[in-house]
């Protein structure tokens, strides 16, 4: 596909697509997944011209890119500007991972008073300049494709890059984790053990790892299409399970993604001690790093 977008003079070898990997607010595990593709790494750099990947190479470029993989959420004013610059430099912008696709676990701060949290965590908050929210890349620029996960799945990354190189539609199915459990023959933890599992509303791609170890899916790939969280929430609560327990299930790495976000809001917000109002930082505010 990219070959047809970049016409080359007849007889010349087709130019390798320029690939960039950039990072915003994240742990870096998603971009590391590219380096984890050890067996295919040499073929990948033969197929793509890796022009920007700070974690792997001192060879830098600020663009332009045929493809850019974007990890991390937008958490600071500088990042909010940089993503717009990256978008203007990229033909294809692919977001990778829960931070870039959903805002990440750090998006839990979106439910709190950022000022209070900032002062509770940092000894000298004046040096910290952050946005009140951690938001997915798609809240800022148009996104062409996304890979979900925390971290993303290496096989899905390989499929995306291979598909771009070969010219086929990437096979990143937007369907429930349940299909993968059933194909593998994993016994459903929800039905057989009443173990709460977000699999039915979560985007597949991980290989259904958690249920294979008899624990419920915690939604790290984020909501799939037509995620009927309302029905699943009603089911979880049918035998008197407290709303806060169900809210906790959704309040993880992809809490801020839309149907999960609304489910949390309907259940009274992410569980944890309520942030006190006013400007006196309190040591009771959840997550005081000095403790």
């Amino acid at each position: 596909m990219l070959a047809t977008r970049t016409p080359t003079p007849r007889g010349a070898a087709p130019r390798r697509p320029r690939l960039g990997v950039v990072k915003f607010a994240s742990c870096d595990g998603c971009q590391l997944t590219l380096l984890d593709l050890e067996d295919q790494l040499l073929d990948l750099v033969a197929a793509f011209d890796l022009v920007e990947f700070a974690e792997a190479s001192s060879h830098r470029s600020s663009g332009p890119f045929d493809i850019v993989l974007v990890e991390g959420s937008i958490s600071t004013p500088e990042q909010a500007e940089e993503i717009i610059r990256i978008r203007s430099q990229a033909t294809l912008l692919v977001v990778i991972g829960a931070c870039a696709t959903a805002g990440g676990i750090q998006a839990l701060r979106n439910w709190r008073d950022h000022e209070i949290v900032r002062r509770a965590v940092y000894a000298d908050p004046a040096y910290v300049d952050a946005l009140a929210t951690s938001t997915p890349i798609s809240d800022h620029v148009t996104v062409d494709a996304e890979l979900r996960g925390c971290p993303i799945d290496p096989q899905q990354l390989l499929e995306l890059l291979t598909a771009l190189a070969v010219g086929r539609r990437p096979q990143i199915p937007n369907e429930a984790v349940c299909l993968e459990c059933k194909r593998q023959g994993t016994v459903c933890v929800l039905v057989a053990r009443n173990e709460p599992c977000l699999g039915p509303v979560t985007h597949t791609g991980c290989g259904a790892i958690c249920p294979a170890f008899a624990r419920g899916c915690y939604g790290c790939f984020g909501p799939r299409e037509a995620a009927n969280t309302g029905s699943l929430v009603a089911w979880f609560g049918r035998d008197g399970r407290p709303a806060t327990e169900t809210a906790a299930l959704f309040s993880g790495f992809t809490a801020y993604a839309r149907p999960f976000r609304s489910a949390i809001d309907d259940l009274g917000g992410p569980p944890g001690p309520a942030a006190p109002a006013g400007d006196t930082p309190s040591q009771e505010v959840g997550g005081d790093a000095r403790r």
């Binding site: 190189a165 086929r168 008899a214 009927n228 309302g230 089911w235």
Partner: protein
């Protein structure tokens, strides 16, 4: 009914010393053979015998809180003293307190895991310097023995036989596995609360299509052989004749199971009522609860829908196409370039239930549901199909009236068609791209050349699946036939079609086909012909026009109406001008908008028909274009008096296989790939133009 013995007929000569060597005479169905008895302590003899025959024995065993079907070594692996308590959305193991090996119903897995594995590589494709080759991946079907098959699951195997081995193109891997599997049935004496085989007429009694049927008593098993293989097994494991008391107790226990289940769904008239409920508001209500998670379809022992996956190296020079379990509940199932025929969950739920309980009758002559209850237990939110069916299509009408009911299906059980079973897997054949013509900015015609005679026997309206290694193969209509090949006119609407449009002369591609039912030209002999088409829709009609003009004297008045977006989007513009110059047909072109240089019509192509005064009762119409355009055309043709049985359209749906196996292209009870893509409006009935169908 299809029996394993019938499948075995035609198998290669059995090796001496194996159970199959004893299969010398035609099968009888078990119920006439005297019953034997096998003490519980001797049960392992069966396993030893099957394993000595080189078979993998699969049976029920405990795993992760459920009873699943997995490879087992012997009696010690069976769930001794265990039962299952099932209800919508819940499954629990429960010790029974008695030493029984089969005191449960069914678990989340079904035998389809072994006859129809979740993932299977099919084809290896190579592409080097623009030359492609495709090879089938050699089948390696395991020799299996299923121990513990319930009556409902036997019925499910027979149902899948119809889908996979009795259709026009069989699934070679399924046939091989099914043929090589020994079936040791065990009758149910402990049904669960979600079982309803009694309503579906599939159990709990095991009445046929098995090698051995066992009924468990405390001290052992009443054993009934059902085939020569079964007789041989019974002889070798040394059963003694069962006493009348043992037989009576066995019958009583199974009758007890029947009594406990009752008859939750009155099925008489159900298919018709279900089709009449297509517009019921209840579908939207179910959709509020349904997660579209696909669990019901994957635990269902008869669901057979699959998708084709592509895996390749980075260069796309080596690729493997494989088959994977899919479900009509996924988003991509009904997706085509630029749209989705079942975007809403309520459309998908309606499709599944209606297909299972009504559409199957039309397609395969049997209900798709065997009453095993798995979909009820394993639905994460406990949706119970028994209850949903009673609401939407219960015998008292459920209070639902639909405006225009779909044509009812005939729910009479039909015997499976007897057809020789081909073992040849479907494989793409290589053809040469001899010439490439750019018709419009996004449409290309490939001239393909071949010497393969089987590719040169097509009819107008048929299509091929056009494959490049590592890229999904889309269905493309044949746009002209030649003595040494054919043409494909392709619009670059997605990655696969774009790849095809980038081909150069001298390169090769793979094709499967010609497929489908073409335009019925004979229906138009002696009649006026009206062809209405738009955009890329002219492509499948061009070969029809070729035939009509070649045999012009067989037809009455011939009219062609062709619509396009703008003058530069018109397909085959030179040919159209030539046709317009002929005096033996009328050609009317129209575009949606144009600049000042266009002196032809601007407006919808049907305006001409609306203002015409010809008598349509003598005419046959052939229509192809976007569905909305075809609907508008059909209305206007009807106003002119053209009978619905004489309006022929060509339908588009998502196709993964093109041969009636993957299930994606279903439109009501029809497979667009093999019952169509050409249909008359009479055949489609109200399915034409119905939202989300």
């Amino acid at each position: 009914m299809v029996t394993r013995d019938a499948l075995m007929a035609g198998a290669r000569e059995p090796e001496a010393g194996t159970p199959k060597a004893a299969a010398t005479s035609p099968a009888t169905h078990g119920s006439d053979d005297p019953a034997g008895f096998l003490p519980r302590d001797d049960f392992d003899r069966l396993f030893d015998l099957l394993r000595a025959d080189g078979r993998t024995v699969v049976g029920p065993t405990l795993a992760d809180g459920a009873i699943v079907y997995a490879e087992i070594a012997g009696t010690a692996d069976l769930p001794d003293g265990q039962s299952d308590r099932q209800s919508p959305g819940a499954y629990r193991l429960e010790p029974t307190g008695r030493a029984r090996l089969f005191d449960f119903a069914v678990g989340p897995s079904s035998w389809k895991r072994y006859t129809f594995p979740p993932r299977l590589p099919l084809t290896r494709g190579r592409r080097v310097d623009g030359q492609v080759t495709f090879r089938a991946i050699e089948l390696d079907p395991p020799r299996l023995a299923f121990v513990g098959v319930r009556a409902c699951d036997i019925a499910a195997l027979l149902v899948q036989d119809r889908a996979f081995s009795r259709g026009p193109v069989p699934d070679a891997d399924y046939v091989a596995r099914r043929e090589a599997a020994v079936v040791v049935a065990v009758e149910c004496v402990s049904p669960s609360d979600t079982c309803f085989c009694t309503s579906m007429g599939t159990g709990p009694e095991v009445t046929g299509s098995f090698d051995l049927a066992l009924t468990e008593l405390d001290e052992g098993f009443v054993v009934r052989p059902g085939s020569d293989v079964g007789r041989y097994l019974a002889y070798r494991i040394g059963t003694r004749p069962a006493t009348a008391d043992e037989i009576a107790r066995a019958r009583r226990d199974v009758a007890g199971a029947r009594a406990r289940m009752g008859d939750p769904i009155p099925t008489a008239g159900l298919p018709e009522r279900l089709l009449a409920a297509a517009d019921s508001p209840h579908w939207a209500e179910v959709a509020e609860r349904c997660l579209a998670c696909t669990n019901c379809t994957l635990v269902c022992p008869t669901c057979f829908c699959t998708s084709v996956t592509q895996s390749s190296d980075l260069a796309g020079s080596e690729a493997i196409a494989g088959r994977v379990w899919d479900s009509c509940f996924t988003l991509g199932f009904a997706r085509v370039a630029g749209g989705n025929f079942r975007p809403r969950v309520q459309d998908r739920y309606r499709q599944w239930l209606t297909h299972k309980f009504a559409g199957w009758w039309e397609q395969f002559g049997t209900s798709g549901c065997v009453g095993c209850g798995r979909c009820i237990t394993w639905c994460p939110v406990g949706i119970d199909v028994r209850a949903e069916l009673m609401v939407v299509a219960g015998p008292d009408g459920g209070g639902i009236e639909t405006v225009e009911p779909l044509a009812p299906v005939n729910p009479t059980p039909r015997p499976a068609e007897s057809r020789p079973i081909s073992r040849v897997p479907i494989i793409s054949r290589t053809v040469l791209v001899s010439h490439v013509r750019h018709e419009t900015p996004d449409v290309v015609t490939l001239h393909l050349q071949t010497e393969d005679a089987s590719l040169l026997t097509g009819r107008p309206g048929q299509f091929v699946m056009a494959a490049l290694p590592g890229i999904s193969a889309p269905p493309i209509s044949i746009s002209r036939f030649h003595h040494d090949g054919f043409e494909l006119t392709i619009r670059a609407a997605g990655a696969a079609t774009r790849a095809l449009c980038s081909l150069r002369p001298g390169e090769t591609i793979g094709v499967t086909g010609p497929l489908g039912r073409g335009w019925p030209l004979e229906a138009a002999y002696g009649r006026d012909v009206i062809v209405v088409t738009g955009g890329i829709g002219l492509a499948p009609l061009r070969p029809l026009l070729d035939v009509v003009l070649r045999e012009r004297e067989r037809f009455g008045a011939v009219r062609l109406l062709y619509g396009a977006r703008t003058p530069s989007d018109r397909l085959f513009a030179d040919e159209l001008s030539e046709l317009a110059g002929r005096d033996d047909l009328e050609v009317h072109s129209s575009v949606d908008r144009a600049g000042p240089e266009w002196l032809g019509r601007v407006g919808v192509v049907t305006t001409l028909l609306e203002q015409a005064s010809w008598d349509g009762s003598r005419a046959v119409a052939f229509v192809c274009g976007p569905e909305r355009m075809m609907e508008a055309t059909a209305d206007v043709l009807g106003d002119l008096g053209v009978a619905r049985d004489r309006i022929w359209v060509t339908m588009e749906r998502h196709m993964a296989c093109g041969v009636g196996l993957c299930g994606h292209c279903q439109l009501g009870p029809s497979f667009v790939c093999r019952d169509g893509p050409v249909f008359s409006l009479g055949e489609l009935g109200r399915a034409f133009g119905r939202e989300g169908w």
